[in-house]
Amino acid sequence: MKIFGLSLLAASAILLGPMSRPGAQGPPARPTAEQNFLWYCIQCHGPRGDGKGVNNTAKLPVSPRNLTDGRDMAQFSDEDMTRTINRGGGASDLSPIMPPWGNTLSAEDIRDLVAHVRKLCQCQFDPKAKERFLREQGKMPAQSQALDPMKETSR
């Protein structure tokens, strides 16, 4: 009986694959950044991240960003991207059409997504690019040259 039950279990495990094991031990493997991207972000940024997702319609006031444009994306530090993905565009002085994903994805998932976006844009953060874009928008970065007094106290 026991043997029969066990072999049945094993057979069903083989047939159904790892996902549908009823009492599977341990947490399932975390999806990769690409898998998360292709489920969630694809809706607006498109499968390649070029901003041509199905939700990119003409009437949207701000189009989903082309994440493969290295020159444009260089203006965002990892910190900027993490904030935007967690809290939405509104938190980074961008359009809130970019939704907040912090409740949906874990901190690790979002860290991996930032690395994934870096791969898509094949770019590194360039403080000069940030300054240039902020100047174009009529906004200067917050006293980037001066020492930040808060930094001292928080240490």
Partner: protein, 244 residues
């Protein structure tokens, strides 16, 4: 068979009279209709694509393409009475992308003859989530208090642009004519007022892990990254209920 027992226990009729009684009550009794609806649901293969037991288990993103249709385990708490009967007789796509894909297009859905649609609807409307709070959204109907409407519009259009993924019909716009605006990946909300119960919209926004663990919609609610208050959620739900 279970219906037989049900009727017997309700009426206390003798077993022999049971069949006659069934025929007599057949057309009029809602319980009978619900039971027939259940039989049709399984006979027509609806269960191949829809689960009717919940809560739905969370599936990893890599496996979600295997889901064949939305769960119906809380359909009675979700849909307005009457909607399902109409929809099942004449299903119309309510999403701008084909199910499970990001391809623009419509998912075609099997239709039921009107009589069967009514019975199946009566069965599905009985599938409720007893834990879902009701009476949350006041019965404002189409006349929302100004402040509520204002807050809802700001949320829906500016702060958390829901229309980025949900198509809506806006009457007064900068285009000076009514337009349909919005994305394709979420169900359109053009006639959501005829379709969804406002209490469900609040419940969905508050507990997405219960009502849509396998969806693509970002999780909102009063959580770390989206501190939407109860009032905000009620305003959104009441606003969506006016769309028709």
């Amino acid at each position: 068979m279970s219906l037989f027992r049900l009727l017997l226990s309700r009426t206390g009729a003798a077993p022999l009279g049971g069949t006659a009684l069934l025929a007599l009550l057949g057309a009029s009794s809602p319980a009978w209709s619900t039971e027939r609806g259940r039989d049709i649901f399984f006979a027509r293969g609806c269960a191949q694509c829809h689960t009717i037991q919940g809560p739905e288990a969370k599936v990893p993103v890599t496996e979600r393409h295997k889901l064949k249709g939305p769960t119906l385990w809380y359909a009675g708490s979700k849909f307005r009475p009457g909607y399902l009967g109409r929809w099942l007789a004449k299903p119309q796509a309510f999403r701008g992308v084909r199910w499970g894909t990001m391809d623009k297009g419509e998912t075609s859905h099997p239709a039921l003859p009107p009589a069967e649609a009514k019975e199946v609807a009566s069965f599905i409307e009985g599938l409720k989530d007893p834990e879902m709070p009701t009476g949350v959204v006041p019965g404002w109907g189409d006349k929302l208090p100004r402040q509520v409407l204002r807050r809802a519009r700001i949320l829906f259009q500016k702060e958390q642009p829901c229309y980025a993924c949900h198509m809506v019909h806006i009457r007064k716009t900068v285009y000076r004519q009514a337009v349909e605006v919005g994305g394709f990946t979420g169900p359109h909300l053009i006639d959501a007022g005829l379709r969804l119960r406002p209490d469900f919209v609040v419940a969905l926004l508050k507990s997405p892990e219960r009502y849509s663990p396998n969806g693509r919609m970002p999780r909102y609610g009063n959580q770390a990254f989206t501190p939407l208050s109860e009032q905000d959620l009620i305003a959104l739900a009441a606003y969506i209920a006016t769309l028709k």
